[in-house]
């Protein structure tokens, strides 16, 4: 193990040195503990709560020097968390369940999206308002999401075979071009893009029809939960405060995002709308009562049921509330 650490340290150190040397990046001299935080997608208001925590210095006060690691279409979250490059990653219950089935020792330590953001988006002249509208429709989606659609169908007694799946890239274009009748996408991206471009759309939130999969979940390894609790508590407590501030003023959170990432190509109108639309997915009477990131036993059993339909067998052990408990106790 020691030998492994040394080899790894050597290689990583050498590469980091190369990267730094090549870029000439100034490295701040801080005594704080460096902590990696792997996001699940490109920088946007989707993670604005974290930006607030960083901007206000709450993590620094907790002794943490947090690096936000951007995600992307080819940037799986779980490997850096397993490898230790990131202390915490933003995953989703189904991806975490899959990784655990492959032997990773993850726990879900917080749930940002209480309601899964998956929707079926359609155009008003040919709308999909309930799962019963799906048979006979052409749906554009990644083949990889077939189990998601299958689960929705079986939760609502809809004939899956009566739906035509058209494999498409993740874009609203096939819907606008009438190549498909509806899209499987997130409430907070493609429908927002259409709205900003003046195209009205109808969205059916799958979470309102029994599809219960916690999304934008915070994951950490069992090792970290045992040995790096203080850092985990510091990181998550910053998240909780950041997201509370976000909810109070989504416009301010949007402007902070635009200010922090001028090179991300963010559009203010799009970001404002996205920031508004994700509020009802993240906050509920449950979080009002217990705080951001909370979950209850009822939602866990609903998750276990939906995950079983997706082909993942999990137990309530996958969720670990001890970090949130510690934050709310202290």
């Amino acid at each position: 193990m020691t030998a492994g650490m040394t080899r790894r340290g050597l290689v990583a150190g050498g590469m980091a040195g190369l990267a730094m040397g090549g870029l000439g990046l100034p490295r701040r001299a801080v005594a704080n503990t460096p902590v990696g935080f792997q996001l699940s997608w490109l920088h946007s208001v989707q993670f604005a709560g974290s930006y607030i925590a960083l901007d206000k210095g709450w993590w620094r006060e907790a002794g943490l020097d947090v690096t936000l690691m951007q995600g992307g279409p080819n940037a799986p979250v779980e490997p850096p968390v397993v490898a230790g490059t990131a202390l915490v990653g933003i995953s989703a219950a189904d991806y975490t369940a899959s990784a655990v089935a492959q032997g990773a020792k993850f726990k879900i330590i917080g749930v940002a999206m209480q309601k899964n953001p998956f929707v079926i988006a359609s155009l008003p002249d040919n709308p999909v308002k309930t799962p019963a509208d799906l048979p006979g429709k052409r749906i554009g989606m990644a083949i990889a999401n077939t189990p998601v659609l299958r689960a929705l169908c079986s939760l609502n007694n809809v004939d899956f075979d009566a739906i035509t799946i058209v494999p498409t890239q993740y874009s609203a274009q096939p819907l606008i071009a009438h190549e498909v009748d509806c899209l499987l996408c997130w409430e907070t991206d493609l429908p927002v893009a259409m709205a900003v471009n003046g195209i009205e759309s109808v969205t059916m939130l799958m979470a309102d029809h029994g599809y219960s999969v916690h999304s934008q979940t915070y994951i950490a390894t069992e090792d970290s939960l045992a040995s790096r609790r203080k850092e985990l508590v510091g990181l998550m407590s910053g998240e909780v405060r950041g997201w509370q501030d976000y909810r109070a003023d989504t416009a301010a959170a949007t402007d902070l995002t635009l200010r922090m990432f001028p090179d991300a190509g963010l559009d203010r109108k799009t970001q404002l709308l996205q920031a508004e639309r994700q509020v009802p997915l993240m906050f509920s009477t449950l979080t009002d009562a217990h705080g951001f990131g909370w979950w209850d036993e009822e939602s866990v059993s609903a998750n276990i049921e939906t995950l079983a339909l997706l082909g993942y067998k999990v137990t309530p052990d996958l969720w670990d509330r001890s970090i949130l408990d510690e934050i709310h106790a202290g």
Binding site: G4, M5, R7, R8, V11, A12, M15, A16, L18, A19, M20, G22, L23, L42, T67, M69, Q70, G71, G72, P73, N74, A75, P76, E78, P79, P80, V82, A83, G84, T85, Y95, S98, A99, Q102, A104, A142, I143, A144, V166, P167, T168, Q169, Y170, S171, Q173, I176, A177, E179, L190, A193, M194, V196, N197, P262, D263, A264, G265, L266, D267, T270
Partner: protein, 516 residues
């Protein structure tokens, strides 16, 4: 006067092209699919700093990768040439590195190298090294036998041969390789950005695709294509500056084929790859959750409880991808060689056709994908066309260079006998082009696989590309590594088949290529 008229004519042509483009953009889905020049210029004007910073970042990474990859290729070519016994191993390993699918290597590089520019640079370097190494090796052998005999009659060895004759003979081929590499480096850097880079053209591409910001998306594509074109032309200009001599007469006695050691060579390569695979995992100390060794892959595919399902999923996807990659590959080769011949017969068409050909390859496949799918449908035709486009460009460039290598003295002889351009083409130029065509055919095996998997990953969501993306996102690393191993193995095997064919043809038409 005439110069002025030509410039005016060219400008009129460009103006008509721009107006037609703008009208087409307006006509199709109210500009929501294709952006016209007006929209693109508007986007550039809105925030030029953003576009330029992204361009600088991507180009910087592409240039770093381009330099590293080509340097590696030149070193490898030198090693392979000075120690001929090592040639098969060196080209084999370079081929394996080139065949590694980006979709799988990207995330692994990101975990190894952490945040920063590392994966973008490495992917760009991997994308260019092989396309330089192979033409370079071809060029090192494109030498008249008499010159070598002269060196040998003075009792001098391979080092003198390399320094005085072969290095110079290889220059045109090196430039061909560099030209092919320029767009590939940009594409490699952009795909590298998909693994979580903070900024660059690839990052903006993803953003604008989601945001449905069509003018911005096309603006980014145009910047990437423009930069690739500029690099391509700059290398071409440099080549014209440096290469002033006419190609020499190539006449060499036919050599007997060396068949011994083919099997031994294959086994050595397989052993070396396994050793590097296992040793690489050990050296980097990657977590076993993510890193699967040769033994894990064998277990997953042969005797694990779910091996049957694994095999079914993997080979099903393989059949789907192969059905698209093979026709696209053949079509691209035919189109590339055909157009090269046409351009040599009608040299006036060159300035018109070349920019289009380079642009087709240089515009990132990420943005052309959906457009070609729109025009040709989501069926097989769209993907096949994209594969053909990716194969077409290196073939065209290599074949044009090959056609130019036709021995001047023999062409003069034909001209003295009043032989027309067509018979010059058939009797002299096409045989002279064959080594380049085969070099392109070998290079294009991995390119075709890269193209088909990228389109499947980003546009159609089927086949091996989609399987690997899904495996990476659901942490199914046994499947991911199995797919990588299978794709690489197949690419190397297909490459061996083309190489076998090449030996047979070259033994007749270009025996100097087989001289050891």
């Amino acid at each position: 006067m005439r110069q002025g008229a030509r410039v005016a004519g060219g400008m009129l042509g460009v103006a008509i092209l721009l107006i037609g483009w703008q009208m087409l953009a307006q006509a199709l889905y109210q500009g929501r699919l294709i952006a016209g020049p007006v929209g693109i210029v508007e986007w550039l004007g809105r925030d030029p700093g953003l576009a330029l910073r992204a361009l600088a970042r991507t180009l910087g990474n592409a240039a770093a990768g381009f330099a590293l990859g080509n340097l590696a290729a030149i070193l490898l070519a030198g090693i392979a040439f000075l120690w001929p016994r090592l040639q098969d191993l060196v080209t084999g390993l370079a081929l394996v590195a080139f065949c590694l699918p980006l979709i799988a290597t990207g995330p692994i590089l990101r975990v190894l190298m952490g945040p920063g520019e590392g994966p973008q640079i490495v992917l760009a370097a991997l994308a260019v090294q092989y396309t330089t190494l192979i033409p370079l090796l071809t060029g090192l052998r494109a030498v008249p036998a008499a010159w070598l005999d002269l060196i040998h009659s003075y009792g001098r060895g391979r080092w003198v041969e390399l320094a005085h004759i072969r290095a110079r003979a290889a220059l045109p081929y090196l430039f061909a390789g560099l030209q092919i590499g320029a767009p590939a480096a940009v594409l490699g850097a952009m795909v590298g950005e998909f693994t979580g880079a903070e900024r660059g053209l690839g990052v903006l591409t993803i953003r604008y695709m989601r945001d449905l910001d069509v003018p911005a998306l096309w603006g980014v594509a145009l910047l990437a294509a423009g930069a690739s074109l500029a690099a391509y032309w700059a290398i071409g200009g440099l080549a014209r500056l440096v290469l002033d001599t006419r190609p020499p007469v190539l006449l060499a006695p036919p050599m007997r084929q060396l068949r011994t050691g083919r099997v031994v060579g294959g086994l050595t390569l397989a052993l070396a790859v396994l050793l590097l695979w296992w040793g690489g995992l050990w050296l980097t100390g990657l977590n076993p959750f993510l890193a699967k060794g040769p033994w894990d892959v064998l277990a997953a595919l042969v005797w694990a409880p779910d091996a049957t399902q694994m095999r079914a999923a993997l080979f099903g996807a393989l059949r789907e991808s192969a059905g698209l990659a093979v026709p696209g590959y053949l079509a691209g080769l035919a189109a590339g060689a055909g157009l090269a011949i046409l351009l040599t017969l009608l040299p006036g068409a060159g300035p018109l056709v070349m920019p289009v050909a380079v642009a087709l390859r240089a515009i990132p496949i990420v943005t052309t994908g959906p457009l070609i799918v729109l025009f040709l449908g989501r069926g097989a035709l769209g993907t096949i066309t994209l594969v053909a486009v990716m194969v077409f460009f290196p073939t065209l460039v290599a074949c044009l260079h090959g056609l130019r290598q036709a021995p001047g003295h023999i062409l003069d002889l034909l001209r003295v006998h009043a032989a027309g351009p067509l018979s010059q083409m058939i009797h002299v130029r096409i045989p002279a082009m064959l080594p380049a065509l085969f070099a392109a055919a070998r290079i294009s095996v991995p390119t075709a696989i890269l193209a088909v998997t990228v389109v499947e990953w980003l546009a159609t969501g089927r086949g091996l590309g989609s399987l690997m993306a899904l495996a990476a996102s659901t942490s199914d690393f046994r499947m991911l590594w199995s797919a990588v191993a299978l794709i690489t193995l197949l690419a190397v095997l297909c490459h061996a088949v083309v190489a076998g064919l090449e030996r047979r043809v070259l033994a007749r038409y270009a025996p100097e290529q087989l001289r050891q």
